[in-house]
């Protein structure tokens, strides 16, 4: 199992795509940090959890695309042509699926880590600020739910029809243009700009309203459920 995971990690991470997207993310992230985050969000410091969260939410669309492209390694027509062979191996299909998803998650996690390190370097260089522990919770709550949901939903869609995964990549861009309810504010970046203003205290500490926590939890659960859901279920639904 571990060897399969290691093999899949090598497939995903030791290739042009991973290094390419890493470079793109770092360039884009630096532009965001220098152009937007440096000004601070909603009267807070550039290194406040709010400004940091705003930076992260601006990175989500690219990370979302990256995560879904990782999945195309397993769901593309080319990959599906070798499914007959992999299914014939003694490894249970569910375990194999789990190893692959874990590899995709590890790849996405590394990309997220690169974004976080870049922000840490930026804060250190400009402000001599190194209290990174304060930013851990905003990073986890901002990155993990949408990316687990991206992997879960993308996995299911990709297994159902491989081209659907490409359409699914547009979702964060669509969210950015739509007036979403406040609970989905992390998805279009409005949460980090609007919520601290509504708290009406100076430099508010990082807190989340219950609706946002519920939405993020639902996303995590939904992502996991979609990961374990059999794609044949979707096909049956479509036939009905």
């Amino acid at each position: 199992m571990i060897r399969i995971f290691q093999y899949e990690c090598k497939r995903l991470l030791w290739n042009k795509f991973f290094f390419g997207i890493l470079l793109i993310l770092l360039f884009y992230g630096w532009q965001v940090l220098n152009g937007v985050t440096i000004l601070g969000v909603s009267h807070t410091a550039p290194f406040s959890p709010w400004s940091f969260g705003d930076y992260l939410s601006r990175m989500i669309p690219l990370l979302w695309i990256g995560a879904l492209f990782f999945l195309t390694f397993f769901t593309s027509q080319k990959a599906q042509r070798v499914t007959i062979l992999t299914n014939a191996t003694p490894v249970p299909i569910k375990q194999y699926t789990f190893a692959r998803c874990a590899a995709a998650f590890a790849g996405t996690g590394l990309l997220c880590l690169a974004c976080l390190i870049e922000a840490a370097v930026f804060y250190g260089q400009y402000f001599g600020w190194y209290r990174w522990g304060q930013l851990l919770f905003p990073a986890l709550i901002t990155f993990i739910p949408p990316l687990i949901f991206a992997l879960g939903s993308g996995w299911l869609l990709g297994k159902y029809k491989s081209w659907l995964i490409y359409l699914w990549m547009l979702i964060p861009f669509l969210c950015m243009t739509l007036p979403l309810p406040n609970a989905f504010g992390i998805w279009n970046g409005s949460f980090f700009k609007e919520y601290p203003l509504s708290i009406e205290t100076m430099d508010p500490s990082f807190t989340l309203p219950i609706t946002v926590i519920i939405v993020q939890c639902i996303l995590v659960i939904l992502g996991i459920v979609l990961l374990v859901l059999d794609p044949r279920f979707l096909k049956k639904m479509a036939v009905k």
């Binding site: 795509f17 937007v36 000004l39 410091a45 669309p61 400009y126 402000f127 243009t177």
Partner: protein, 729 residues
């Protein structure tokens, strides 16, 4: 020939694809997003709302769609695993070129369809101010050129990476940067040009030139990048570097690619649209140049020849100096950084001169030494394309020069004298300007322009007299209407295309009501030139200004869309109100303007009076919502700003970021904090009537000739208050 032969089957194949037609269809309908979702042009003119926004949005959506189509099509043979066969039949280099041209051709077809389909819709929405030239230029430049740029970028990304996934991510990041971080930088926003307004009544060539320049710079840059990626097209199963080595064997290919990249770099760095004015707008070093000793200016004149087709200006300015110092003296002028000075002559002899690299407030400093003679005539010849201020680069369009509109301000009209005192307090000035005979020349000030001669080439030479070191001139296809009100004559100039809107809006009545309000509350105005005030409608500029005897009215004050805005009551035109009020409060002789950062300025009382007039005309709730609440919001934001609270953090930042953050410091304090303080004073002195009486007395006070300015202390004394009383909570 083979490539041309293959182009048509490739185009035919492309046009047979259902995906292509889906993208064509989506692109054709995409301008609708500019009416609903994405509105980068914020001005309320009809052309901004119903032409600029749909065209820019169409460019963004169409560009993204064609980028996706490009990557998808380039990957087709690879995806279908026929690339080996394809490469055996046609060179992959030829095929890349054919595919690119076929995609660009399909984009052109899409653009043509979009222009045709949206013509009637735009005409219907824009109404009487619709212009075919603006329509075609807006769609071609703002939408059309986005498509080949996207195709070139996407194709280059694919040819470099030869991966669908990586190309998509690269393209998404490239488009995302243009739409977010680069959106305020007029040269970098390759997908969504920085267009904030289009004029309904006058021409828009200056902003179209700016967009064209940006697009062409990117077209050259992306052509260069595409050419580099062309060298990376995989050959004979080789990897990127081996293919590159193979492809560069024809030396012309890398040379063309590098030339294109270098040319785009030069075009970016040497752009002619915007100057390099100091971004720190608190620095006014040109006003601190020491005056030349024992030199006075007795007279000056200028002959100005705008080229309305090219948007350039050439001119000859002459200055009469009396130099009683007996030595050579250095004279300094402010000149538009876009102009080139061809010669400077003193008493008919060429003399050396320098133009500074340092620029400030849209001026460079021209310095020359006049000889030690008592009477010196200095003649400066200049020409060039007037540049706009770097600090306003996201709001370009004000330096419009065309057959229907010309605006030349101060150093753009003729070199502005910086360091010579006037003779007997006057700088007698004569300006001659030659323009198409359909244009009316309006000096911004008390001067009156008259036609000196009608020329055979369809132009007329106008002349007017004024007094000062600078000067502003408007010219265009104007209508003049004389308004008699409260013992004064207002010469109201507005664009001919705006006549219907002005009449429907009751603009004349609006002007009368503002003048009546101010006269009744503060007293009558007196002008140096026969009780005449000019009110000139400018091209949409987002604001206005005023001088002795003249105020500006922004075209956006009275638009067809404003007429339908019920919240504004029967009268629109808040910029007009503000600039008319400046005739009572402001204009240099009433407020000491030597310290630009002082919150007590002409703007505080003017904004307060504008609020009072708006309250009377539009009602209390409108005034409260659009004035008091906004002032309060701005002031709150200012004092809550992290860097205002922690100046030590500001000092850690690079200087350009510091300037960006502190840029609106004086704006908030003058335009928002001071009106709030005056409003608080109004409450403390007993209400509106009491405040009106105080302001009336201040306006009609006896002036001290040594220091005629109205100070904050005088205002406080008149109110019987102290500075602390007006501190805001």
């Amino acid at each position: 020939m083979k490539r041309i032969r293959l182009f048509f089957p490739e185009l035919k194949r492309l046009l047979k694809s259902r995906l292509t037609w889906l993208i064509v269809l989506l692109t054709v309908i995409s301008p609708i997003t500019g009416l609903i979702l994405y509105k980068p042009a914020t001005a309320s003119t009809m052309l901004s709302m119903y032409l600029a926004n749909p065209a820019i949005a169409g460019g963004v959506v169409g560009g993204v769609l064609f980028g996706v189509l490009t990557v998808y099509e380039l990957d087709r043979s690879n995806r279908s695993r026929v690339n080996v066969l394809m490469d055996a039949v046609v060179s992959p280099l030829s095929m890349a070129l054919i595919r690119l041209t076929a995609l660009i051709a399909s984009a052109l077809i899409t653009l043509a369809l979009t222009i045709l389909i949206w013509l009637s819709i735009s005409w219907w929405r824009i109404g009487s101010v619709f212009s075919g030239v603006d329509y075609v230029l807006a769609y071609v430049l703002m939408m059309g050129l986005a498509l080949p740029l996207s195709i070139l970028a996407a194709a280059a990304f694919y040819q470099f990476t030869r991966r669908l996934d990586l190309s998509f991510v690269l393209f998404a990041a490239f488009a995302g940067l243009s739409l977010t971080v680069w959106a305020g930088n007029w040269q970098l926003c390759w997908l969504n040009p920085c267009v904030w307004a289009l004029s309904d009544d006058f021409s828009n060539f200056r902003i179209f030139r700016s967009v064209t320049y940006m697009r062409l710079t990117w077209l050259v840059a992306l052509s260069g990048i595409w050419s580099l990626s062309y060298l990376c097209i995989r050959r004979y199963g080789k990897d990127l570097f081996r293919s590159l080595i193979w492809n560069v064997r024809r030396i012309c290919r890398p040379i063309i690619a590098l030339l294109l990249v270098i040319c785009s770099g030069i075009a970016y760095a040497a752009q002619p649209m915007v100057d390099h004015s100091n971004p720190d707008q608190t620095v006014m070093s040109f006003y601190e140049v020491p005056y030349a000793q024992d030199v006075v200016c007795t007279n000056r004149s200028a002959q100005v020849l705008p080229d309305t087709a090219a948007g350039t200006v050439s001119g000859k300015a002459a200055y009469q100096f009396q130099n009683t110092s007996g030595t050579e003296q250095t004279i300094a002028f402010g000149i538009n950084p876009g102009y080139t000075v061809s010669s400077v002559q003193a008493n008919g002899v060429n003399i050396p001169f320098t133009v500074s690299d340092y620029q400030e407030y849209n001026e460079a400093m021209l310095e020359t030494s006049i000889p030690a003679e008592e009477q010196v005539e200095l003649v400066i010849e200049y020409r060039g394309f007037p540049q706009e201020d770097y600090n306003m680069s996201a709001l370009q369009g004000s330096a419009e020069i065309s057959k229907t509109y010309v605006c030349l301000q101060n150093a753009s009209l003729s070199p502005r004298l910086m360091n010579v005192l006037p003779d007997e307090g006057m700088y007698p000035t004569t300006i001659e300007i030659t323009l198409p005979d359909s244009m009316m020349v309006i000096p911004f000030g008390s001067g009156k322009a008259e036609i000196l001669a009608k020329n055979n080439d369809g132009t007329a030479t106008w002349q007017y007299e004024s007094n000062g070191t600078g000067g502003i001139l408007y010219a265009g296809d104007y209508i003049r209407e004389n308004i008699e009100t409260d013992g004064m004559t207002i010469e109201f100039y507005y664009g001919r295309r705006h006549q219907d809107v002005m009449e429907s809006a009751g603009a004349v009545d609006a002007v009368k009501s503002v003048v009546a309000y101010c006269t009744e509350h503060y007293g009558t105005l007196s002008f140096g030139s026969g009780d005449t005030l000019k009110l000139i409608q400018s091209r949409v500029s987002g604001g206005g200004y005023a001088t002795d005897g003249a105020s500006l009215l922004d075209e956006a004050d009275f638009t067809a869309s404003n007429l339908g805005d019920g919240s504004k009551g029967t009268v629109a035109g808040e910029v007009m109100i503000h600039e008319l009020v400046h005739q009572w409060w402001g204009l240099g002789n009433m407020f000491d303007s030597s310290d630009d950062t002082n919150p007590w300025s002409a703007e505080g009382l003017t904004v307060y009076t504008t609020y009072r007039i708006v309250k009377e005309l539009y009602g209390e709730s409108y005034a409260q919502e659009n004035y008091v609440k906004q002032w309060q919001q701005e002031v709150d934001d200012y004092y809550l700003n992290y860097y205002v609270r922690h100046p030590e953090a500001l000092e850690m930042l690079p200087s350009d970021k510091q300037l960006e953050i502190t840029g609106n410091l004086s704006y908030v304090r003058q335009y928002c904090e001071m009106p709030l303080k005056i409003l608080k004073a109004q409450q403390l002195v007993g209400g509106e009537e009491a405040m009106d009486q105080i302001l009336h007395d201040l306006f009609n006070r006896e002036l001290d000739p040594a220091y005629p300015y109205l100070t904050y202390q005088e205002f406080l004394d008149a109110c019987g208050l102290t500075e602390e009383d007006l501190n805001l909570d």
